[in-house]
Amino acid sequence: MGIHLLYIEDDAEIGTWVNDDLKGRGYEVTWLQNGERAVDHAAGCRLVILDVMLPGLDGFTVGQRLKKAYPDLPILMLSARTSIDDKLEGLQFADDYVTKPFHPDELAARIEVLLRRSGSYSSEALALGHLLVYERENRIMNKDTGEEIVLTGKQFQIFMYLLRHLGQILTKEQIYEGVWGDPYLDGDKTLMVHIRYLREKLERDPANPEIIETIRGVGYRVKA
């Protein structure tokens, strides 16, 4: 049984293609051609892919209804409209936004990120280099030694934050604000110190980090 997705798209050609592609990637997809009964079908779904231009109820209205009924259900907006106001309007309830024409790999990657962020993958172990991460159990295993790596509270939070944005580059400010919840103060070295200790525990060679990558001048990334 794959993860259940709700897909709302009126265009038959695009719908068929996305539907097939997602099914090919192992998802179970319910495809609706209008948003009238979206809320009914959303039960049991882990994520909604929603087109903006729909006959009858438009995507924004459908999205708002869905969010009201299922506040934790991630919504990915899919649209041919790219105007900035659409993005703002959509993002008030939508968790992400993909514009047409999109590459199916991009759509799949965004779906994965959203599912990870909402904690849908936590039951399975995530393999990262020589590490096995069990998100639900807050456990990290070193495959090389078979030992569990014990992190402090903040170290674990930082690492989880990076994992939830797997493959994304995050700036220092984004990580700090995401983990601490406070505005980043300029010249604050706290994060750098934490990353250094984190690397000492996680990396095979902390001088040449493989798990937490430094993107010079930008930030950090954990690659899938």
Binding site: D11, E13, H103, I169, T171, I215, R216, V218
Partner: protein, 480 residues
């Protein structure tokens, strides 16, 4: 050119008629107004004197006028025809009382000089021809004296003698001699008053015209919300009134054409918005098929062509996106919300989003930004859009350089500037893809709106775009 017919102004009430009236008054000054003022003066004078002596039949001053005196004298002489010398004496005495300033005497048929009222004149007892001539010589020629001689009965042939009256010109007053100083002052005062009146009327005529023209001028410069002047109230139907009416007509036509232009603009924008939406859907479909094709077994050449097709599809999508964005941006739909924002943070976040693509394309990303925050007044959303477009241009048009540099520099004013550089063939060289224009147009528009300065240096070795807060300098796009 189409001309709108305006009703001709009536001559009455037109500026021309009023101007002509003024000219006419000026012309009438000499032949009419001067004499009129003289008459006016006399009327005033007579009224004043008449008030002083209400019972006098003939005005005292008028009595002493030479014409009057002469006429009176001859009349009296006529009336005394056939009178006895005693009657004549009596009449002269009466007249002497009436005309106190005048000396009178008469010479009877026997050449006796008779001065019934007595008198100041030294006359001989008898009056012969020689005396008459000598008198004539003495008085008639003298300019200081005025005298009238009349035969009794006013007829020489009666030979009843003659009567003489004589008066000093000084005594009969200035009426016949020039004007006294006071009188001339009053007279010239009246003339001056008329001149002043004329000048005041002309001045008011001009000032009124000027005031109305200024009102029109201010109406032309004042604008309402739509950028057009308001129509003005037309109060008179003269030439300026016509001008005001024509001005109102022009405002009305401008207003209508502005409305039409806005409607057309609106239509154009809606068309572009719909068009880009309608184009994007089939584009997605085409792309899906390309993607499906890539999964099929294809020759190497086939794969190559497919990759090329996909790239071009991506470019096309970007182009449509930019077209729509530009359309929406220039329609004024977005309002700027500038805040004090750390510009380096936005640049870093934006670079983070683009980094995977640069990696995939094999670009060397050389990002060198200082640690400390740099605050600019920015709309974050708009500034991200600027960076997106610049990064996109690098990926699309400077692919050959395989390099993107993001660093800071010092601008001409000594402030910090963000520089985005590539090692492509430069903007003059064709990258085989003409999409950079609209992307840059968006960047130019956004930087201008945010009051940023942008300087582009492009050579064969690469292009660099420098963005800085335009300090005092005119913001906008500068090409070098």
């Amino acid at each position: 050119m189409r001309k709108t017919k305006l009703p001709k102004p009536r001559f009455r009430g037109s500026l021309l008629s009023r101007y002509l009236l003024l000219i006419l008054i000026a012309l009438l000054f000499i032949p009419v107004l001067f004499p009129a003022s003289v008459i006016g003066y006399q009327v005033v004078q007579n009224m004043a004197i008449g008030n002083a002596l209400p019972d006098a039949g003939i005005q005292p001053e008028e009595r002493y006028q030479t014409i009057h005196l002469e006429k009176m004298w001859h009349n009296e002489a006529k009336r005394l025809k056939g009178s006895t010398p005693e009657e004549i004496d009596r009449r002269l005495r009466e007249l002497s009382e009436e005309y106190a300033k005048v000396d009178m005497f008469w010479v009877d048929a026997d050449s006796h000089v008779r001065q019934p009222a007595g008198g100041r004149l030294h006359l001989p007892e008898t009056w012969d021809a020689a005396d008459a001539i000598s008198y004539m010589k003495r008085y008639r020629g003298a300019t200081q004296q005025f005298s009238v001689i009349a035969f009794i009965g006013d007829d020489e042939k009666l030979n009843r003698g003659f009567m003489v009256m004589q008066v000093s010109k000084a005594a009969i007053g200035p009426r016949d001699g020039g004007l006294s100083a006071r009188e001339s002052m009053v007279f010239f005062g009246i003339i001056l008053l008329m001149f002043v009146l004329f000048i005041i009327v002309s001045w008011m005529f001009f000032m009124n015209m000027r005031r109305r023209l200024l009102r029109l001028q201010s109406a032309m410069t004042v604008q309402d919300g739509s950028g057009l002047p308001d129509p003005i109230a037309v109060r008179k139907s003269d030439e300026i009134g016509q001008l005001e009416a024509a001005f109102n007509g022009m405002v009305d036509r401008l207003d209508r054409s502005l409305k039409r232009e806005r409607e057309e603009e609106e239509l154009r924008k809606r068309l572009i918005a719909n068009l880009s939406h309608d184009l994007r859907t089939p584009l997605t479909v085409v792309r899906s098929h390309v993607y499906s094709l890539q999964k099929e077994q294809l020759s190497e050449r086939g794969q190559e062509l497919l990759t090329l097709t996909e790239t071009k599809l991506g470019d096309l999508a970007g182009l449509i996106d930019n077209l729509l964005s530009y359309n929406l941006l220039t329609s004024g739909k977005y309002t700027l919300h500038p805040e004090r924002i750390d510009v380096l943070r936005i640049v870093r976040e934006s670079a983070a989003a683009w980094y995977p693509l640069w990696e995939k394309e094999g670009f060397e990303a050389d990002i060198d930004l200082p640690e400390g925050p740099v605050y600019w007044m920015l709309d974050a959303q708009w500034f991200r859009r600027i960076l997106d477009n610049l990064f996109q241009n690098v990926v699309r048009h400077a692919r050959s350089g395989q390099y993107i540099g993001i660093r800071t520099a010092t601008d001409a004013a000594g402030g910090l500037a963000i520089v985005i550089a590539d090692k492509g063939k430069g903007m003059q060289a064709s990258s085989g893809d003409k999409g950079a224009g609209i992307g840059l147009a968006i960047v130019g528009f956004l930087t201008r709106e945010m009051g940023l300065g942008m300087e582009i240096r492009s050579a064969e070795g690469g292009t660099s775009v420098m963005i800085s807060p335009a300090a005092g300098d005119e913001p906008g796009l500068k090409l070098r």
